[in-house]
C-alpha cells in the first residue's frame, strides 16, 4: 500500500502532498483511521448486545457484505482514477437475471452461465471504459446513462418478470459452510486479495494513483492514461457481474431490480473507506472497512430490536458518526 502512495506522490506538481516520509506516514495513519472507526463501532456493538460478538453473527455480517463488498472493489479502482461508476447496480441486476436465465434450472449449465455473465458484465465495463478513455465523456453521466440502458436491456430481455431459474446445485455449493466459515466469506476474501494484489503489486495499480492524482502529469510522464482508465472500468464491470452472481447464489433471483441501490451502497462504502471523488488516494483496504461499517450498522439495528424509524435514524447517525470520527482521526495526525 505504501508503495503505491509513494509512487503516487512522485509526479505530483505541488498540488498533491509532498513525497516526504511525513506524507507517507500520514497516509499510513489516514488509511488505518477507518479501521479504528470500525473497531470502535464493533466495540460499542459488543457492549450494546451480547449477541453481536458471537462468531456466527460476525460471519453473517461478512457474508451479508459480500455483494456490496465485491462490487465496491471495482468501484474503488475506478474512483482512484477520479472516476465513478454508477452502473454497478444495474449490472448486478442484469448479472443475477442473466445467470439464472442461462442456468435454466440445470446444474450442467452453471459453468456456461458464470462465464457468460462475467463476460457480459465485463463488456459493459469495457464500454464504459472505452467511452470515458477515448471520448472523454464525464464518468458520472456516462455510467448513469449506462445504468439506465443496462436496466432497460434487462427488462427487454426478460419481458418484465425475472426470467430464469437458478440451478439448485449452484446455490447449494456457494451457500455452504466450510466448518463455521461460509464459502461466500472465502470468495469475498479471495476477490479482495486479488484486488489488493492488482492495486499494490502491479504497474496498472500504481498507474491508477498516478492518473487519479494528476492525469496530465501522468500523461506527460508516459503513462497510457486511456488504457489505465479503460482497464479500471472494465474491472468494475467484472466485479459488478461477480457481485450479481453472488447475489444470485445468496438469495436466488426474484426481481429485475435485485441490484437496485447497490451503486449507492458501494459508493458510500468506497468514500467512507477514504477513496474520495478527488481521486489519487485511498484504496481497497479502506473500502473493506467502509463496507463492514455499513453492514455492522445494519446488523446492529436489527439486533438491538429497534423499530424501523429508529433504525433509520441510528443507521444514518452511525454513518455520519463514522465519517466524522474518521476526519477527526486524520486531523489529529
Amino acid at each position: 500500500m505504501t508503495v503505491a502512495i509513494t509512487v503516487q506522490a512522485q509526479p505530483s506538481t505541488g498540488r498533491e502532498r509532498p513525497a516526504s516520509l511525513l506524507g507517507t506516514t500520514r497516509s499510513f495513519v489516514e488509511r488505518r483511521a477507518i479501521w479504528l472507526v470500525l473497531l470502535v463501532l464493533i466495540g460499542c456493538a459488543g457492549l450494546l448486545s451480547p449477541v453481536f460478538l458471537n462468531p456466527i453473527n460476525l460471519f453473517n455480517i461478512v457474508r451479508q457484505s459480500a455483494v456490496v463488498g465485491i462490487a465496491s472493489i471495482g468501484v474503488t479502482l475506478v474512483m482512484i482514477t477520479r472516476g465513478v461508476d454508477l452502473s454497478v447496480g444495474a449490472v448486478i441486476s442484469l448479472a443475477a437475471v442473466l445467470g439464472a436465465a442461462v442456468m435454466g434450472g440445470q446444474d450442467g449449465n452453471v459453468a456456461q452461465a458464470v462465464a457468460m455473465t462475467l463476460l457480459v458484465g465485463t463488456l459493459v465495463g469495457a464500454i464504459n471504459g472505452l467511452l470515458i478513455a477515448l471520448r472523454g465523456l464525464p464518468p458520472f453521466i456516462l455510467t448513469l446513462g449506462m445504468a439506465v440502458a443496462v436496466q432497460g436491456s434487462n427488462l427487454l430481455y426478460t419481458g418484465g418478470t425475472a426470467y430464469g431459474v437458478v440451478a439448485p446445485g449452484y446455490r447449494d455449493v456457494v451457500n455452504q459452510r466450510l466448518g463455521p466459515v461460509p464459502l461466500l466469506v472465502l470468495i469475498f476474501a479471495a476477490v479482495l486479495l486479488v484486488g489488493l494484489l492488482i492495486q499494490n503489486g502491479t504497474l496498472f495499480g500504481r498507474r491508477l494513483y498516478l492518473v487519479g492524482g494528476n492525469p496530465e502529469a501522468a500523461r506527460l510522464s508516459g503513462v497510457n492514461v486511456s488504457r489505465t482508465l479503460f482497464l479500471a472500468y472494465t474491472c468494475s464491470g467484472f466485479t459488478a457481474a461477480l457481485a450479481g452472481l453472488v447475489l444470485l447464489a445468496r438469495s436466488g433471483v426474484s426481481s429485475n431490480f435485485a441490484g437496485q441501490g447497490y451503486e449507492f451502497d458501494a459508493l458510500a462504502a468506497v468514500v467512507l473507506g477514504g477513496t474520495t471523488f478527488e481521486g489519487g488516494k485511498g484504496g481497497i483496504g479502506g473500502t473493506l472497512a467502509g463496507v463492514l461499517i455499513l453492514l455492522v450498522a445494519f446488523n446492529l439495528v436489527n439486533i438491538l430490536g429497534l423499530n424501523f424509524n429508529a433504525q433509520l435514524v441510528l443507521k444514518g447517525s452511525i454513518i455520519i458518526g463514522a465519517a466524522a470520527l474518521y476526519r477527526l482521526a486524520q486531523r489529529r495526525d
Binding site: 451479508q64 434450472g105 431459474v165 426481481s255 430490536g305
Partner: protein, 419 residues
C-alpha cells in the same frame, strides 16, 4: 459536493430528501429505500400496493381512521378453515369498504363499440404488474367489443410522465383507460379531464381510491389479507409462541394495514408474543439478511408473520441455513411462484396461501366493460384474496417456472409472460 450533485441528479427530488435517501440506501446491504420515497420506488409486489399507499395519503376523506379498530373484531368472520377448499376471504370490513359499495352512474360513458382500450402503467417493472397487465389484455381479448390494438404506456415510476402519457392517450382518442398509478394525486387532474371527455377510468393496481377522477377500482384489501394471514398463523401455533413479523416498505398501505391486522388479531391471542417487526421492502435478499440477524438475537422463534411470499423465501432460507427451519411455522404467504416452489419442497413449515391475485387486471377490465355498456357499477370491486390450503399449494406451484412468477392457472398460455 459532487456526491450531493450526483444524488440530486439521480433522485430528481428535493436535495435534502435525496441526501437522506442516499444515506439510508447506504446503510442497508440490500437495495434500501427511504420510506419517504416508498410509493414511487417500491420494487416488487410493492408495486401492487404502492398505488394503495398513495391512496391513503390522497384525499383525507377517503381513509376514515376511526372505522377499523372498532368495526373489525365484531364484523370480521373467522379465518378460513384450513380444511376447506379455496375460499374467498370475507369482504366488507375494511376502510375501503365504506365507500366501495357506493353506486356510480355510468350513463355518461356508454358508447358503441369498437372500444379502444388503453393501459396507462405507472410502471411495468415487477412481475405482479406484468401479470396484472396480461390479465387485463386477456380479458379485453374475449370481448369482441374491444378493438384489437390496446395502447400501453409505461411511466416507469415517473408521476409526471404518467400525466403526459394520459394526456397523449386522450389526444389519441382512446375510449377507456385502465391504469395503475405512480402517485394518485399527481394524475387526478388529468383523470378528471378524461372523465369530462366521457372517457372512463378504472384503477387496476390493487389499491383503492375514492376520487372524482376514478370511476371504479379493482382492489385488494390489505387489511383483510393481513387478518386472514395472522389468524391462520395463530391457529397453527395453537395460540402460543414467539413470532417475528416481516412487512413491506415502511409507510405503504400494505405495511400499515398488515401490521394493524396482525396486532388486532394478536389481541385475541395473549400467549403469542411478537418479538420483532421489520421491514423487508419486498426484497428477498434484504428479508434474508434481516432474518439472519434476528436469528442471532432470538434463540427461539416459533412463528413468522409474512404475507408476501417473496420475502418469506428469503426468511425461510435464513432459518434453513441456521438449521432452525424445523422449529418454525410460517404464516401463509401469497402465490408468488418462488414461495410456492419453496413450500412444495418444505411443506412442514407452511400453513397454506392467502393470494394477492394479479387477476385484478382482469376484474378491472370486466368492470370497464360494464361501464362502457352503461350498466351500474360500484366505486370499488374487491378482488378477493383466496385461501389455498397446504395440500393444494404444491399443485399450484409451477416448478419449472421462474421464481419471479405468479400462479395464474386461469391465464391462457399465450398471455403468460416469457419464462
Amino acid at each position: 459536493m459532487f456526491g450531493i450533485r450526483m444524488v440530486n441528479a439521480l433522485r430528481l427530488g428535493p436535495p435534502l430528501l435525496a441526501g437522506f435517501a442516499m444515506l439510508m440506501a447506504a446503510c442497508a446491504p440490500a437495495p434500501a429505500t427511504a420510506p419517504t420515497s416508498a410509493p414511487t420506488t417500491a420494487p416488487k409486489p410493492a408495486a401492487t400496493t404502492a398505488p394503495a399507499a398513495a391512496s391513503t395519503t390522497a384525499p383525507p376523506t377517503v381513509a376514515p381512521t376511526t372505522a377499523p379498530a372498532s368495526a373489525k373484531p365484531t364484523t370480521a368472520p373467522a379465518a378460513p378453515a384450513p380444511t376447506s377448499a379455496p375460499t374467498a376471504l370475507p369482504a366488507g370490513t375494511s376502510p375501503e369498504a365504506l365507500t366501495a359499495n357506493k353506486p356510480v352512474d355510468t350513463a355518461a360513458f356508454k358508447k358503441n363499440p369498437p372500444w379502444k382500450l388503453a393501459i396507462s402503467a405507472g410502471y411495468l417493472s415487477n412481475s405482479w404488474v406484468v401479470f396484472a397487465q396480461q390479465y387485463a389484455k386477456y380479458e379485453a381479448s374475449i370481448h369482441p367489443e374491444f378493438a384489437k390494438d390496446i395502447v400501453v404506456t409505461d411511466a416507469n415510476f415517473n408521476a409526471t410522465k404518467q400525466v403526459a402519457d394520459i394526456e397523449d392517450l386522450l389526444n389519441r382518442g382512446v375510449d377507456a383507460i385502465v391504469y395503475w398509478p405512480v402517485d394518485d394525486k399527481a394524475i387526478e387532474p388529468v383523470l378528471e379531464k378524461a372523465i369530462a371527455k366521457g372517457i372512463p377510468t378504472v384503477n387496476v393496481g390493487g389499491g383503492y381510491l375514492d376520487a372524482p377522477g376514478v370511476v371504479s377500482n379493482a382492489y385488494i384489501d390489505q387489511y383483510l389479507l393481513g387478518e386472514a394471514v395472522a389468524k391462520r398463523m395463530a391457529e397453527v401455533l395453537n395460540g402460543k409462541g414467539q413470532i417475528i413479523s416481516m412487512l413491506p416498505i415502511a409507510g405503504t398501505t400494505a405495511a400499515v394495514d398488515q401490521d394493524k391486522a396482525l396486532k388486532d388479531v394478536l389481541k385475541n391471542y395473549p400467549d403469542i408474543k411478537l418479538l420483532d417487526t421489520q421491514n423487508g421492502d419486498w426484497n428477498r435478499a434484504k428479508a434474508k439478511s434481516i432474518t439472519e440477524n434476528l436469528l442471532q438475537k432470538y434463540q427461539k422463534i416459533e412463528g413468522v408473520f409474512s404475507p408476501a411470499g417473496q420475502m418469506s423465501i428469503g426468511m425461510a432460507e435464513a432459518f434453513e441455513e441456521a438449521g432452525r427451519l424445523q422449529g418454525v411455522k410460517f404464516s401463509p404467504g401469497d402465490e408468488y411462484n418462488g414461495w410456492l416452489k419453496y413450500i412444495a419442497k418444505h411443506p412442514d413449515i407452511n400453513t397454506g396461501i392467502v393470494t394477492f391475485p394479479p387477476s385484478a387486471g382482469r376484474t378491472g377490465v370486466q368492470q370497464m366493460v360494464k361501464i362502457l355498456m352503461g350498466q351500474p357499477v360500484t366505486k370499488g370491486i374487491q378482488v378477493p384474496s383466496v385461501f389455498i390450503k397446504l395440500e393444494d399449494v404444491a399443485k399450484a406451484a409451477e416448478m419449472d417456472r421462474p421464481d419471479d412468477w405468479w400462479s395464474s392457472a386461469d391465464l391462457p398460455e399465450e398471455f403468460k409472460p416469457k419464462s
